[in-house]
C-alpha cells in the first residue's frame, strides 16, 4: 500500500506523530509480515477449494464416462500399426511423456490389456450406460436385477452405480439426529453453567465439558461402536445394531463441546446488569436466565448451533465407525446408513487416480464444502439480522 505523503512535506509538532510508520521500521516489518501471513492463509484455503473443484469439475460438466462397456474403444491389437502415434496415445490414455518412454512391446501389451478389459465387459444391459451422468448420480434407475427403480451407490461392482442421494440422506440423517441430541443438552448446560450454577461448580463443569472436545473422534467412534450401539439397541430394540441413530448420538457427543463453549461464552458475555435488573424486579434466577439473558444472547447461541451443524456434517471418523456404512436410502434413522464423509474416507484410497470413482468422490467433497459454506453464510446472515434486531438499528 502506498504511503500517503503530506503535501506540505514535514509537519511540525504533534501532527507528525500520526504518521509514525516510517519512523518505526520494525512496526512496518511486523505489519508486512502479518499481512503476508494472513494473505497466505486466505490463499491456501482458496487453493484447497480450487483443487477440490478442479477434480470434481469433469463430473459437474458431464465429461466423465464410467460406462463399463466402452465399445468404440476396443480395437484389435493388429490395428496398432494403422493408427498414427497421436491416435494410439489417446486410445491408450497415456500422457505424452509416458508414451514417449514406452517401447513397442509395452504398447502392444497395453493394447492387449485394453482388449481383454473390453472383452470382460459383463453381459449386462446396463453396461453401456454412463453412470457418472447427472441423471444416474441423482435420479433413480432400475438396474439389472432390481424389480424397481432405486437409488444405489455401488462404485466397485461390475456396473459402477454412483447414486449419491443415499449418501446425502445419510449425512442429513446423522446430522439431524446429532443436533437434536446435542443442541438441547449443550444449550441447557450452557445456560445452567453461565447463569445458575454456583461459581465453584462452574469452575469444574465448564472445563469438564470442553474436555470432551479434546477426545479424538476415533475414540468417540469406538465408544459409539462398542458401548453406545449395544446399549441403545437394548433400550430401543431395533434390528440393525449400527445405524444412523447410534452414529448421530455419538456425533452429538462430538458436537456438544463446540455448541456448549460458544453458547456459554455468548451467555456469559450478556451484561450482568440485565440479569440483575430482572432479579431486582422479583424474577427467579430461572426467569431471568430464560426470559432476559437467553434472548439477549440469541445471535451467539445461533452461531453455536451453526458451528455445531458444521461439525456434525463434516465429522468423519465417528460416522465411519458407528453408522454401519450401508448406503441404504431410507428415512428411518434405525437403518444402517452411510454419509458422504465416511464414503470419501473409506473409498478414496482405493480409487484409480483421475478415474470416474475418484472424481465422483471429489464431487462429494465439493458438495460438503458447499453445504458447510452455505450453512455458515446463512448462519452469518441470520446472526447479523438478529444482532440488528437486538441492538435496535433501523
Amino acid at each position: 500500500m502506498a504511503e500517503p505523503s503530506h503535501p506540505g512535506g514535514r509537519r511540525p509538532g504533534w501532527q507528525a506523530l500520526d504518521r509514525g510508520q516510517r519512523a518505526r521500521p520494525w512496526e512496518w516489518v511486523a505489519e508486512q509480515a502479518i499481512r503476508v501471513v494472513s494473505v497466505t492463509a486466505i490463499v491456501l484455503v482458496f487453493l484447497i477449494f480450487v483443487f477440490v473443484m478442479r477434480e470434481a469439475l469433469p463430473v459437474l460438466l458431464g465429461r466423465v464416462n464410467s460406462a463399463a462397456a466402452q465399445e468404440r474403444r476396443a480395437l484389435p491389437v493388429e490395428q496398432m500399426d494403422r493408427l498414427d502415434p497421436e491416435e494410439l496415445r489417446q486410445y491408450l490414455e497415456l500422457s505424452r511423456k509416458e508414451f514417449a518412454e514406452m517401447d513397442r512391446d509395452t504398447l502392444r501389451l497395453l493394447m492387449e490389456v485394453k482388449l481383454e478389459a473390453a472383452e470382460e465387459v459383463p453381459e449386462d444391459k446396463d453396461a453401456p450406460l454412463n453412470t457418472a451422468a447427472w441423471r444416474y448420480l441423482l435420479g433413480p434407475h432400475q438396474w439389472t436385477g432390481y424389480d424397481r427403480p432405486a437409488y444405489i451407490w455401488q462404485p466397485v461392482s461390475s456396473i459402477h452405480k454412483y447414486n449419491i442421494v443415499p449418501l446425502i440422506v445419510g449425512s442429513l440423517k446423522t446430522s439431524v439426529v446429532a443436533l437434536l441430541f446435542a443442541v438441547p443438552l449443550a444449550l441447557a448446560a450452557a445456560l445452567y453453567v453461565s447463569q445458575l450454577a454456583p461459581p465453584r461448580l462452574k469452575e469444574w463443569v465448564k472445563p469438564g465439558i470442553e474436555l470432551l472436545a479434546g477426545i479424538p473422534s476415533v475414540v468417540l467412534g469406538f465408544f459409539g461402536l462398542v458401548v453406545l450401539a449395544t446399549f441403545l439397541q437394548q433400550v430401543c430394540g431395533y434390528a440393525s445394531r449400527l445405524n444412523a441413530f447410534v452414529a448421530g448420538i455419538a456425533l452429538g457427543l462430538a458436537c456438544i463441546p463446540v455448541i456448549f463453549s460458544i453458547a456459554e461464552d455468548a451467555l456469559t458475555s450478556v451484561p450482568r446488569s440485565f440479569s440483575e435488573a430482572a432479579l431486582a424486579l422479583g424474577s427467579s434466577r430461572w426467569q431471568a436466565a430464560w426470559q432476559v439473558v437467553l434472548p439477549a444472547a440469541v445471535p451467539g447461541v445461533f452461531a453455536a448451533i451453526v458451528l455445531g451443524f458444521g461439525r456434525a456434517v463434516g465429522e468423519t471418523m465417528v460416522v465411519l465407525m458407528a453408522s454401519g456404512n450401508a448406503s441404504l436410502l431410507t428415512w428411518s434413522v434405525f437403518d444402517s446408513t452411510r454419509t458422504m464423509t465416511a464414503t470419501i474416507a473409506a473409498e478414496l484410497a482405493e480409487t484409480v487416480f483421475g478415474g470416474h470413482h475418484y472424481r465422483i468422490l471429489f464431487l462429494l467433497g465439493a458438495l460438503l464444502f458447499a453445504v458447510t459454506f452455505l450453512s455458515n453464510l446463512l448462519g452469518e446472515l441470520v446472526i447479523q439480522r438478529l444482532k440488528r434486531r437486538l441492538e435496535g438499528g433501523r
Partner: protein
Amino acid sequence: MAEPPCIEIRDLRLAYGPKEVLRGISLDVLPNEIFGVIGPAQSGKTSLLRCLNRTIDFVPTARVQGTIRVDGDEVRRTKDVFALRRKIGMVAPLPVGLPLSIYDNVAFAPRCAGLTRKADLEAMVEQCLRQAALWEEVKDRLDSLGTRLSGGQQQRLTIARALSHQPEILCLDEFSIAIDPVTTMRIEEVLKELRAHMTIILVTNLTQQARRLADRTLFLWNGEIVELDRTDVIFSEQPANRKTYEYVNGIFG
C-alpha cells in the same frame, strides 16, 4: 409514633472486602412518606438501597451486618427473597433496559409474579407507562425494543418497570439524572400522588429535589448518618449539624 415503621434499620454495617461502606446505620422509614436521602458520592446511598432488596447479594465481596425489617419481616433471613424484591420497586441510576420490547419490559415483573391475563397486563402496562410520563411517547410503538429508546426515555421505562409489580416501597436512585427538567417535574407530580399508595425512598444528588418532595431527609456522609430530620429542618438555617448546612448550601468540601 402512631403507626409502626415500614422499614426498620438497626445498626446496619456493610463492607466490600476491607472497605467499610456503611458504618452502623439505624433509622425508621414511615409508611407513605417520601424519604429523601442526600449525600456526596461514596457516602453509601446506593449501597443502602441495595441492602433493602438484597441485590447486595450479587456482590460477592459484600458483608452485611445488622438488621433490616421490612413490614416487620427480617430481610436478611427472609425465606422468599423474590417476594421481598417484588415488594420493593427499584430504579437504578443508570437505566438498564432489558433487551425486550417496551411492552415486555413493563410486563416482565407482573408476568414473573404470575399475572397472565392479556387484558390485565395491557391495563397494567398502560397505567405504569402513564405514571412514568412515558405513555404518550411510546404508545404507538410498544413492540419496539426498550433499548432503542433514548437515555431519558429508558430511565422512565425503568420507573414504569419498577411500578409494574405494584411495590409497597419505591426506591428511586438518582432517577432524574438523564431526564429533562420538565419531565422531571411531571414525574415528581406523579410521585406526590403515588405516596398515597406506597412509601417512597428518594436518593438524589439534587438537594433541591429532596427539598421539594421529601417529608424527611437523611444526610449521609461517608457511611454514617450525619442528620435525619424533617426536610424543612434540614434545609433551614439551623440544622442540628453544621455539615448539613454546608452541604445543602453548597459550601461543603
